[in-house]
């Protein structure tokens, strides 16, 4: 089925917005206004945008250290994200988490955390809860290729398969875990095979083709809702380093050589080319760009204007209130 122009425009705008937000965050880090570690997904935007467009507002999304894109694509509040990264009490996590701990329960994000693979079993548990509470929500677990080297990734896929839980496992395979390339970390290249070995169907997808990602996501989400877990390995590449705004300063020669090719394979440029081929004029694309920049500018101004955290509040909320 050929997607409609307005629909693709929405995916394009979603990706562009993520990129402009992350460029803003990169600037904040470079200017020293933000100290907390920020892991940018610039270059990978097609995956959060394509997957989340296939989800309902009440579906769960779980992420990790590199989750600005998941948060934004799922509908998390932009000002809340920037305020969080600035450590403001008005941030989406009350300024307690920063970039690596994002929270937006109103859109199904119950917490992203930086311990690698940590939210994979949590996603499986949330899927169990949706089934027991007789809702038909799905639980989407985003993680990188490095996370698939953790034991609890394999344990979790097995639990989801065994109990036929509504989980979509989305591996954002950007070919590097921090500084090490895939081939330096595993002998078998196809990560999707790890899920298949445990009885979970899966596919490899061009992670820089937002339409391919979205098409695969629609099928995966339908399968998860009706049948059980499914796995998508989305191949992509991050343009920046593992952490921070610099371009791959922490990695080896091969990554540097590969980067130019991947930048030529920009998911946003590809979607823009699709729109232009479908007849969208350049003025409309420029308007999308203008809107994204204006939204980021206004959100940053609001985030910065909010009061700073007070030292005397640092001890609060070690425990949550009792809820019967």
């Amino acid at each position: 089925m050929i997607p409609s122009v307005p629909f693709v425009e929405g995916l394009y705008a979603s990706m562009l917005r993520i990129r402009r937000v992350e460029e803003c965050i990169a600037d904040l880090v470079e200017r020293g206004e933000v100290l907390c570690p920020c892991h940018l997904c610039i270059g990978q935007e097609a995956i959060p945008a394509g997957i989340c467009a296939a989800l309902r507002r009440d579906d769960y999304v779980w992420g990790g250290h590199r989750s600005h894109g998941h948060y934004l694509a799922k509908g998390g509040d932009l000002t809340g994200l920037l305020a969080e990264i600035l450590g403001k009490p008005s941030g989406c996590s009350g300024g307690r988490g920063g970039s690596m701990h994002l929270f937006a329960p109103e859109v199904g994000i119950l917490g992203t955390v930086p311990l690698v693979a940590a939210t994979i079993p949590l996603a499986v548990g949330a899927a169990l809860a949706t089934r027991r509470l007789k809702t038909d929500r799905v639980s989407v677990s985003f993680f990188g290729d490095g996370a698939t080297e953790e034991g609890h990734y394999h344990e979790s896929v097995n639990l989801a398969a065994l109990w036929k839980l509504p989980v979509v496992f989305v591996c954002e395979n950007n070919l590097y875990a921090s500084h090490l390339s895939l081939s330096e970390r595993r002998a078998a290249e196809a990560i999707v095979d790890t899920a298949r070995a445990l009885g979970v169907p899966g596919d490899q997808v061009d992670g820089n083709d937002v339409l391919a990602v979205h098409t695969a996501a629609v099928q995966a989400v339908a399968h998860a809702r009706a049948v059980g877990p499914v796995f998508l390995e989305c191949r992509t590449f991050r343009w920046r380093g593992h952490v921070g705004p610099a371009e791959d300063l922490d990695v080896g020669v091969r990554r540097r050589a590969d980067l130019a090719g991947w930048m030529a394979n920009d998911p946003i440029a590809r979607a823009g080319a699709w729109l232009q081929a479908a007849g969208m004029d350049a003025g409309r694309l420029a308007a999308i760009e203008r809107d994204a920049r204006e939204e980021v500018r206004a959100a940053l101004a609001r985030a910065k204007a909010a009061p700073d955290a007070r030292p005397e509040d640092a001890g609060a909320h070690v425990f949550a209130a009792r809820v019967e």
Partner: protein, 352 residues
């Protein structure tokens, strides 16, 4: 669950005699029957070989989709329980040997313990992590550990250790409704102990201890399996003319500082008995707090009765010496009555 005896106490409280294991089972059954959000997951929960009689027949009564025996995946199973708790359920995740629970430290310590704080108190993790201490019988170092101090050290976790059937039931119920991660530690050595247990869903509040015996000379604070041994020691010492007050700590974190300190102010002497390693342990924490808060009341240096700083031995001959007994507690109590602060020279009785 039929009680062997029952009696009516007060106008509405029916009390039966149950074993500790039966009381745990009854708490599970009442929680499962009254709240559809409650479920149990863990390795061996269908098998008495793993969990003794503490879950006997629950899978038949409530179905195996609510009593979920699990693959050998401590980490993911515990993470699943944490995720289910975040998404609205009330999981009890069971680790039939606490030693194996160390494979699940990430979801307990990094995730569940931090969640409320990291997200500004907006979402607690109402998960009970039930750890069974199963030791003795020449099971050696990796089938013996009692790791309450490891978990009590972590902000955001609560840790309880019931010693009596009444508390085993009431603390499990309170833990499920606490709204925060609670590590509930029960000891297989207590499973056959009998005691009075009220019917129905009652709660023993986490954070409260209980005075089990009133005395005037020495306060003994005990945890879990050391509670019956402390009561035994107190009875023997009473015959020797030493009046011992016994406090069952019940809740390791938070612990009942008011109860312990008020007792120490009365007796002036303190012994803490905890069947875990002495160094950096639960007893160490209580002694440190007593030194800070009630030093003036202490007439003698306080003492600990704990495990030596070695892994659990295997041989029965060495096991017998390894675990503290009523005699160990009695010796420590007597030592506090024969020493005074500032006059520690001279022959001290051997430490337990």
């Amino acid at each position: 669950m039929p009680g062997r005896t029952s009696s009516r106490r007060g106008w509405n409280e029916i009390v039966r005699t149950l074993t500790y294991a039966e009381a745990i089972r009854e708490a599970h059954a009442l929680l499962l029957a009254s709240d559809p959000r409650v479920f149990v997951v863990g390795q061996g929960v269908w098998s008495p070989w793993y969990v003794g009689s503490s879950m006997q027949g629950l899978d038949v009564e409530f179905g195996r989709d609510r009593i979920m025996d699990s693959p050998v995946s401590e980490n993911a199973v515990t993470g699943l329980a944490v995720g289910a708790a975040l998404a609205g359920l009330r999981p009890i995740v069971v680790h039939p040997r606490m030693d194996f629970m160390l494979l699940a430290v990430d979801p307990i310590v990094n995730q569940a313990a931090n969640w409320s704080y990291m997200f500004n108190g907006a979402l607690g993790v109402p998960v009970v992590v039930r750890a069974i201490v199963n030791r003795g019988g020449e099971q050696a170092a990796q089938h013996s550990q009692s790791l309450q101090a490891v978990f009590a050290h972590v902000p955001g976790l609560k840790v309880v250790m019931p010693a009596t059937p009444r508390d085993a039931k009431g603390l499990l119920i309170d833990a499920v409704y606490d709204g925060n991660p609670v590590v509930y530690i029960d000891d297989r050595w207590l499973y056959g102990e009998s005691g009075e247990v009220p019917e129905g869903l009652y709660r023993v509040p986490i954070g409260t201890g209980r005075r089990l015996r009133t005395g005037t000379d020495v306060t003994v604070v005990a945890t879990s399996i050391m509670v019956p041994r402390a009561l035994d020691a107190a009875e023997r010492l009473n015959r020797a003319g030493i009046s011992v007050e016994v406090i069952d700590l019940r809740s390791v974190k938070p612990w009942d500082r008011d109860l312990v300190f008020s007792s120490v102010r009365k007796t002036g002497r303190l012994v803490v008995a905890d069947a875990a390693w002495e160094g950096f342990g639960t007893a160490a924490e209580i002694l440190a707090a007593a030194a800070t808060e009630v030093l003036d009341a202490l007439q003698a240096p306080p003492r600990r009765v704990c495990l030596p700083d070695t892994p659990a031995p295997m041989s029965r001959h060495q096991e017998r010496a390894y675990y503290p007994t009523a005699e160990s507690i009695a010796a420590a109590v007597q030592a506090t009555t024969t020493t005074t602060r500032g006059a520690r020279s001279g022959a001290l009785p051997a430490d337990a």
